[in-house]
Amino acid sequence: MELNNVASLAYFAPELLLSGTVAVVLLLDLVSDSPTAAGIVAMAASLVTFVLVAAGGVANAWLFNGMIVFDSFAFFFRLLITLATIVAIWMSLGSREVKRCDQGEYYAVLIAASLGMFLMAEANNLLMAYLSLELVSLTSYILTGFLKHNRRSQEAALKYLIYGGVASGTMIYGMSWIFGIAGSLNFGMINGALTHSGTGASLGVFIALVLILAGMGYKVASVPFHMWAPDVYTGAPIPITTFLAVGSKAAGFALLTRFFYPAISRLAANGSWQALAGVDWPQLLLIICMITMTLGNLAALQQTNMKRLLAYSSIAQAGYALMGFVVLSNDGIRAMMFYLIAYYVMDAGAFLVVMIIANATGREDLDAYRGLAWRGGLVPAVALAIFLFSLTGIPLTVGFIGKFYLFAAVIRGQFYILAVVGIINSVISLYYYLRPIRTMFLDQPNGDEGEVTAEAWNYGLMGVLAAATIVLGLYWGPLIAFADRSLKFFTGPT
C-alpha cells in the first residue's frame, strides 16, 4: 500500500522520537549543568527507539507518498542501526576523550546521524537517498572533528569532508542521469522504466551506476573510495570511530542493496536476480570487492596503531561483505546481512577494548598493549583476543559462521575465483590479527605502558559483546532465520 503524509506518521514513531530527542538534548544542555544528563537522555531515547522499532513490526508500505519504504529489509537495518547507536552512546558515556567535549551538542549530532542512517535504510527515492546520505555525512564530519584543538581530529574531519563532498556530488550527478533515462526518482518506477525500456540507453545507465557507486561505495569504504577511512578512523574519538565503522557502514550497505537490487535489477522466478541487459555492474563490483579486501588486508599488515589497524581491517571486512552482494542471489544478500550483524558484534567489541586501553594509558599504539594480560588487563586482553579471532574467522566465533555463509553463497553462485581470493585474504589477515594477541600475551611489559584498571561500565558492554561473539558462533540459527525473513523487498503497490 501507499500512504499519504498523515497516515504515514503512525509507522514513523522511531524516527519522530529520534528527531524530538535531538531538540530535547540540545535544549537540555542549556538548562542543566550535569555532565552526564545529555548522554543519559540520548541513551534512554535510543533504548526506547529500539523497543518502538521492535514492537512496530513490519508493514509492507510506501510511506510519505513513496519517499520511504517500510518493509522487512528496512526493519532489519533499523534494528541493527539502533543497536549501533546504543553501543556508540554507551561507549561515549565511558570515554575519557568525549568527557572533555560539549555534551549536549555531541549527543544531539550523534542522534541526528542515527536518524540519517534510519532514513538511508528506508529510502525509496533518489532524493531521499541523497538527503539521508548527506544527513549522515554532515553529522559525521562534525563528530569526527569534535575533539577541539586536537590536530589529528581536525585533519580527519577535513579529509572526510573533502572526500565526502566529492563522492556525494559525483553520486547526484549519476542520479541525474538515471532520472533523465528513467523519468522518475522513485525506485519502483525507475525499475519499471529500466526493465521495460530494453537496452536503448544501457551505456548511459552503466556510467550513471559507476558515478552513483562513488557515493554509496564511499559510505561502505570500498576501494577506490576508501582513502578517507584510515585517517578518519584514526582521528575521530573512538566511540565515533565505532559508530562510523558499524552504523554508517551498515546503512551504506542497506542503501547500496536497496538501490542495486530492487531498484535496478529484476527478480527472476527462481529467486535469483538479473542485472539489466548490457549493464554489467556485478562484474565491476566483483573486481572492486576483490581489490577492497586485498588492499585492506595488505595495508593492515604494517600498521602499528591499533585504530589504524582496525580501520584497514574494516575496509577488508567491507570487502568480505561485498562478496555476498556481487553474487546476485538471495543467498548472497542473506549472507551479507548476517555478516553485517557479526561484524557489528566483533568490530564494536574490538574498538571498545581499544577505548578501554586508551582511557587507561592515553595511547593507541601497539606498544601500549605489550604484556597487557600480565599488568592488570587480563580481561580486556582475553576479550580482544576473542574479537580478533572472530574477525579472522576462527571457528566457534560468529565471524566464522558469517564467513561460512558468505563462502557458501559465493561457491553456489560459481564464483570460484572470488572464493579463492577470499580464502587467501583470510589467511593474510590471520597474520595481523594475531600480532596484537601475541603482543598482549607473549611479550613482557616494559613498565612504561601505564596501568590498566577495571571500569565496570565499559567492562559490562565488553562482556556482552564478547559473550555474543561466542554464543552466536555456537547458536546462530535464530539469527540466520531472522536475516532470511528480512529478505523481502516491497517494490510498490500492485
Binding site: L127, Y130, L131, Q154, E155, L158, I172, Y173, G180, D231
Partner: protein, 104 residues
C-alpha cells in the same frame, strides 16, 4: 525553448561543468578551492535535473531535487568552512598537504 536550444546543449554544458569541478578538486591544494570544486560538481547535477525535468515533462521532481541540492550545498559549505576555520586556528594554514600528520 527559444534560440533552438535542445536537451543536448544542457547535457554538454553540465558535463563540462562537472569535468571542471573534478579538475578543480584534484588540482587545488587549498581547502577552500576544493570546496569550490565540489560546488561546481553539485551545480552540474542541478543543470541536468532541470534540463531533464524541462524536456521530459511530467511532474516537478527535477526542480524539487535542485532546490534540495542548493539547500544542502549551503549546509555542506557551513560545516566545511567551520572545519576549515578550526584547522586554520590551529595550524595557520588551509593547505591540505600541510596538514599531513595522518598517513601510512
Amino acid at each position: 525553448m527559444p534560440g533552438g536550444l535542445t536537451l543536448n546543449h544542457f547535457l554538454v554544458l553540465s558535463l563540462i561543468v562537472f569535468a571542471m569541478g573534478l579538475f578543480c578538486v584534484m588540482s587545488r591544494r587549498n581547502a577552500i578551492g576544493i570546496l569550490m570544486g565540489v560546488e561546481l560538481i553539485l551545480n552540474s547535477a542541478n543543470i541536468n535535473y532541470l534540463a531533464f525535468a524541462f524536456y521530459g515533462g511530467g511532474r516537478y521532481d527535477g526542480q524539487i531535487f535542485t532546490i534540495f541540492v542548493i539547500m544542502l550545498a549551503a549546509a555542506e559549505a557551513v560545516v566545511g568552512l567551520a572545519i576549515v576555520l578550526a584547522i586554520y586556528q590551529d595550524l595557520r594554514t588551509i593547505d591540505v598537504d600541510a596538514t599531513e600528520t595522518l598517513s601510512g
